[in-house]
Assembly symmetry: C2
């Protein structure tokens, strides 16, 4: 079975549902487990024949796992660079997983919420993704997939260290819990540093929209636990959940304060974005993320009643370089893309 | 006689006439002569009684000079801080002349084109100002005023050095010839450095809109001769005239090139400014200068047929902090000013 990329690019990514719980601040959350097979070299050291074998083992095993009965299994080697990029733009795969020169596979459930990357940095990366703030549901699913897969595949596990991983920063639980938050009011009021200074015991790592090493753009932050070793899964989940609750409250309070005490600056920012989106001829995907952020704040503070929230959310992904080309139905040079993107955005939004 | 500041702020400054020769690139030009009285300490060293005496001498002398028969003589000590600032915003006086704590005077002809500052850095600063590129006319007027004043007042002059001045950088001719140019296309095409590298023998000094030490804003440059000593007045005028002609040609060529080869980037820039001006709630005077620059380029390349060029030119001065408060008819805090400015700009321009 294959993915229909022509239709996929028009579909809302499951992690951008504007009606999800707490999605006024938390766009999405994610649980990721890193697992490796026992007595087998990690992907960066393994021979292709070994990696091929792992690929086959997962291909055989996945469909017996709850939630994955109807999942697709994709040989990533069969997909084009464009298709890889589209999956990365939808956060289904990691940027590091794009066009790896070794045998790689992807298990993807029919809702695009659950996935298994085979031979990413580790043999297995179990990922559960959801819009809004729903960590416990996610954890239940990821944990169940992990347990069931673990009963078929034998994991590399040490009594002393826990799960073994290619990079020591994942060793132990192999768990990365992250939430993807939109903090424009805290940023406008210059309170972000103080809010993010309260780190829980299991640590806090803050990244930009494009993941590790990326700049923060559009006040979108990926916040996750820093440590995977020395804390139980439950403690990590609790810590990150408490942190999220605190950040959500602070951001909501900041928005209210802006509305009540500095409405003119808020309006100034929101309507400048509108003015640019109405009139510009060229727009990069990077710049659009900034406007996305401002418009979202405008919608959530009631300043932009005419803009459909879900349409805006979808544009965050649809304006990315590979999505926009797929939508245009042709490959385009960067300038042509930036012109088409601007027209596409205008055709989708009512100001 | 007094200046009517309430009406003045609505008048087009004489150096911003959009129909003057070559005013597509050269907003205005200026000739300034620094002169001091013989055997008299420079203003920064002179006693107030001495400065008062100079003040009286000029007050008696000016009306016998051609071009200044109907000029006003203003005791700057009688003017409020606001009135000083308004004159500075109109480039009638220098920023350094605002609220000096010594006796200072200003002779201003009825067209606001010719002025004498008394006890600025030097005892006398003769200034002739004109829209567009009309150096020779200016020089004729400044030179005639200088000659006639010099026949009544005795100038500090050395056979070896020429005219003596408070700052040695003005000694010799005391002449500063400057033109105020708008170079958005050269800036957009990153050719400014190479164009301004061709310095004539009498040197070239490049400053921003707000004069000495100011940042360049809105691609507006004050370009003037660097040296006043070692070159005759005619050589300085010729040098700066040749430089201006060269810059005008280069800027026009760059605009044509933009229109023909990169129209989409030009349009993108121009219409983004329009979008912001249509929608913003707050605008600083500094930011408006950037939009002024972009809109002016849009008008001159035919992209903005609905905007009246002279109205735009007038806004460059009318949006300055003291002008805008005088126009509003009340003192305002900075934020209130920025809101009023934005509304005023929108009320004046048709997009």
């Amino acid at each position: 079975m294959a993915l229909d990329f022509d239709n996929l690019v028009f579909k809302s990514p499951p992690w951008l549902n504007c009606k999800a719980p707490d999605s006024d601040v938390v766009l999405s959350c994610r649980v990721r487990l890193a697992r490796n097979l026992r007595d087998t070299p990690f992907p960066n050291r393994a021979a292709n024949t070994v990696l091929q074998q792992i690929f086959r083992q997962v291909e055989t095993a996945y469909s017996s796992v709850d939630f994955l009965e109807n999942a697709l299994f994709l040989d990533m080697g069969d997909l084009s660079n464009t298709e890889h990029q589209i999956l990365a733009e939808r956060h289904v795969i990691s940027p590091e997983f794009v066009m790896k020169k070794i045998p790689t596979g992807l298990v993807l459930d029919e809702t695009d919420r659950l996935s298994l990357m085979v031979n990413e940095e580790d043999h297995l990366r179990i990922q559960a993704l959801e819009s809004g703030f729903r960590l416990e549901e996610l954890w239940d699913r990821a944990e169940q997939i992990d347990r069931q897969l673990g009963s078929v595949l034998e994991y590399a596990f040490s009594e002393e260290l826990g799960f073994l991983t290619a990079c020591p920063t994942n060793t132990g639980t192999g768990l990365r819990v992250s939430f993807f938050v939109h903090l424009p009011a805290l940023a406008m009021m210059e309170r972000l540093d103080s809010v993010l200074r309260n780190k829980p015991p299991s640590g806090l790592s803050v990244r930009g929209f494009y993941g590790e090493g990326s700049d923060v753009v559009g006040h979108l932050y990926q916040i996750s636990n820093q440590f995977t070793l020395g804390w139980t899964e439950w403690r990590i989940l609790e810590d990150i959940e408490e942190t999220a609750v605190e950040i959500i409250e602070q951001e909501r309070a900041a928005r209210q304060e802006l509305l009540e005490e500095d409405r003119i600056h808020l309006e100034n920012r929101v309507f400048r974005s509108i003015g640019i989106l109405e009139r510009a001829k060229i727009m990069s995907s990077y710049e659009f993320i900034e406007h996305f952020s401002t418009l979202k704040l405008g919608i959530l503070t009631g300043l932009l009643p005419k803009i459909d929230h879900q349409t805006l959310n979808d544009l965050l992904v649809q304006t990315q370089p590979e999505h926009i080309q797929k939508i245009a139905g042709r490959g385009m040079k960067p300038l042509e893309r930036d012109i088409f993107r601007m027209e596409f955005i205008r055709s989708r939004l009512n100001f």
